[in-house]
Symmetry: D2
């Protein structure tokens, strides 16, 4: 009798070399520990905190990641645009307008003969760019996928909690999981929605936490104090690993368990 579940790990925004090293260091252990079958990772900040590069993509793939999703920062490194066309393992949000480099969803084989999984990368618009509607784009992709896959994983890269939550309800029962990225802070609202879709507003960042969402503290504070440009420099210290593991049942592809990972834990004292 075959395996009845599939476990997917989704790693949140990997920031710069500190984040890449952390993934390289820990991922294989986590895969074993959590019996993970498939790994997805948001990489929009992998290249020094801004965008991706072929090198950072390769590092993630070698570390054990199968699919790398993106976001608004995917466009920060012009040199990466060609790679978006040539490498099916890397996605950018699907709801960028037709004519944009690369693609926003793909169907991938889960190792071990566990079937196929579709990964969809979407981006929100509230406080971000007026690209195509993520809700209708999701409808369209799901229609394309019809009957081809049992498992559908959605990375919703967005700023506003309301937009992510609305998408979760909108897709409940139609996809396996809707997990958010972009804010670089892990939220504690992981849950299984009533019709079986796993949901979490944000996975959080895999990167240096003595920072302001990955950036050196002084520059980040100065930007706010003076509202003038201050050079982005990737922070380096106190690197943590942020991820979510979702367990899908094999019959309908619904989420039967969702678990957050944040490692190592922050100092919370003792009450």
């Amino acid at each position: 009798m075959g395996q009845k579940i599939v476990k997917v790990m989704f790693i949140g925004d990997v920031v710069g070399n500190p984040g890449l090293k952390m993934v390289d260091l820990l991922l294989k252990n986590f895969i074993k520990k959590y019996s993970v079958d498939f790994v997805i990772c948001n990489g929009e900040n992998a290249h020094n905190g801004k965008g991706m590069s072929l090198e950072s993509l390769n590092q993630l793939l070698e570390a054990g990641v199968q699919v790398v999703t993106g976001g608004n920062h995917t466009w920060s490194n012009f040199n990466f645009f060609e790679t978006l066309k040539t490498h099916p393992q890397v996605l950018r949000p699907q709801n960028y307008p037709k004519g944009t480099y690369g693609k926003g969803y793909g169907i991938y084989k889960i190792p071990g003969g566990l079937g196929d999984i579709a990964v969809i990368n979407l981006q929100g618009r509230t406080f971000m760019y007026p690209i195509d509607c993520p809700f209708r784009t999701a409808d369209w992709v799901i229609k394309q996928l019809k009957d081809q896959v049992r498992y559908i994983f959605v990375d919703i890269h967005a700023e506003a909690t309301a937009e992510k939550i609305a998408l979760g309800w909108y897709l409940d029962g139609r996809v396996s999981a809707v997990i958010g990225t972009h804010t670089h802070v892990q939220t504690a609202d992981e849950r299984i929605l009533p019709k079986g879709t796993g949901y979490c507003t944000d996975v959080g960042m895999t990167g240096p936490q003595t920072s302001v969402i990955g950036m050196q503290i002084k520059s980040a504070v100065d930007r706010m104090l003076y509202q003038t440009p201050h050079k982005y420099e990737c922070a380096e210290d106190d690197v943590h690993f942020s991820a979510v593991v979702v367990t899908f049942e094999a019959e309908k592809g619904k989420t039967v368990a969702i678990e957050r990972i944040f490692y190592p834990e922050f100092d919370r004292g003792m009450s």
Copy 2:
């Protein structure tokens, strides 16, 4: 010998009557369970999801809350503005410009002779309104408070994670805790910063969770699908209680423990 610690509970954005009832129902038990000495609550959505009213303020005070903070929605109900002047238990963000109704910080007695605590309410500006600088306003208030209080609690009501985290670092070692509100989603990043300030990006909402941050799902999704106005209607179902409990040591007022509360827990299945 006297008590060496003070425990403060901070309840996140209470939404409408469902949220108010939840506070009324659970707060006294939580106070006992966690040995809480002082309760602060963000109430900007208490009046049907939009602003406050004298009635909702009284309900919170009767339920056991000592100080009610606000945010951008404080201004949603014109009828409440006078109450801002007459009731020292209610605050609005201090960094609204001089000339605005009400005040944004206060000094309060902790019951049981445990000394005084200052509560400061601040609001972010990223993706919000261009009010006064929350960083410099914090500096100014802290200077006013000099030597008057041992404990200083900051509610930073803001949208962007970067702005809240930056304020946390900016105030580390100068206040007892910096806890965020406004996004209505609890974050999992509660921690004690290196110099002793308790920090959490967002406490999350105390209100109906079968909703989009408290609003009925259909209206909220329609707003995003059509980008036209759809009447705000407060949701009602699946009410949860969101809070953070911070423990301050009595000598310097630093945080020695920080703990999130989300009750009841969401369905997360079993891995």
Copy 3:
């Protein structure tokens, strides 16, 4: 020998009763003075400064307007939504998503047997709402219109000058005119683009000029000083009429003349 030209007047955002009265008072004279064949008017602020009503629509039509365009404020009055469906003389921006009330373009007969004119209402997205792309929507509408009309008039309701100008260049040679609304200030850049499209960034407001874009000065200034809500009240004094007259040649529908009207003139002293 037939008439070789068609003259279209486009009146900018009519604000409240003061604006409606001004149109009623002056339009027929202006039509005569400028030999106008067809009148279009942006009415998004006709109903007390916020949205439209059936009554204000009728007032505009009776005053001599043939088509009334809209904008973001079209949605400010819920009671008007049905009228959007029943009255083909009123448009709302076409690039609101499918499923929105009303329509955003129409074909209308020019009185005097001068042929048909299409009017397209579009809305920008920069600093506004993330609706469908106005550029691609224009492409789509133009395709629908193919060979049905000689004259195409576009009202681009937008905030950012860059977005309006970009649309002007994008449509140059494909439509008769691209004229902007929404900022309530008339711009002095009316021109004929190289391929024959008439262009002006904004027609300006037809309404009370002792105001802040139609609103009473004190409330408007207080909104900026305090960043809190202050009741919108329509101003009343110093009403001016703002319009543009474009002259199209009859063969290809290109603009051969463009002229701004602002009446009465402001006091500019004497140099």
Copy 4:
């Protein structure tokens, strides 16, 4: 008997080398033609369209400009920040927070013994950055200037028409003129407000008009079509000169005449 008036020319956002050359070519003739006593120029886009440089500053000064104001793009060229400290002829918006490089107002001698003029550079916040309040900053500067100067000229660099107009009314009778910049499109609303302040929402750009506010058309359109970064490249063709000339009477410094200049005129055909 001495001269009873002072004439000030204000040149709108000079864009790149095309704009600089235009100023060099035409300014001296315009000074003669309009009997201009003092020239102010917004230079935030002088350095290849983005920020300023010492070289572009010198070119403007040599061409006959006395004071160069700035805006949000002042910060686009890091190399210029030192010059902000060393050259009193260059200003940046005064309402950037304390601690920012440079200053935002100055008192300057009008050649010919015509007395002193203060120039104040302010920046709006709507759709821009949450810097200090431009209204209150204006109050503060005017207080500093008390009795030192007869003429006060304000460059309000802002996006929203409402914010500029509100500032005009707010300062009416307290300064000689409030003239806007930043949108790069000249507005036709130049006027003398009731208490004697000259006002115009935007002077417009001195730069290449076969462009989108100075940028090459294709890149600008692509930015809007795809919402991804496209390299800013300064356009080159069809350069126009945009300015306003205000005439102040010598007793109280009020505006007695205001005139727009846009040279050469656009093609407007013949009605």
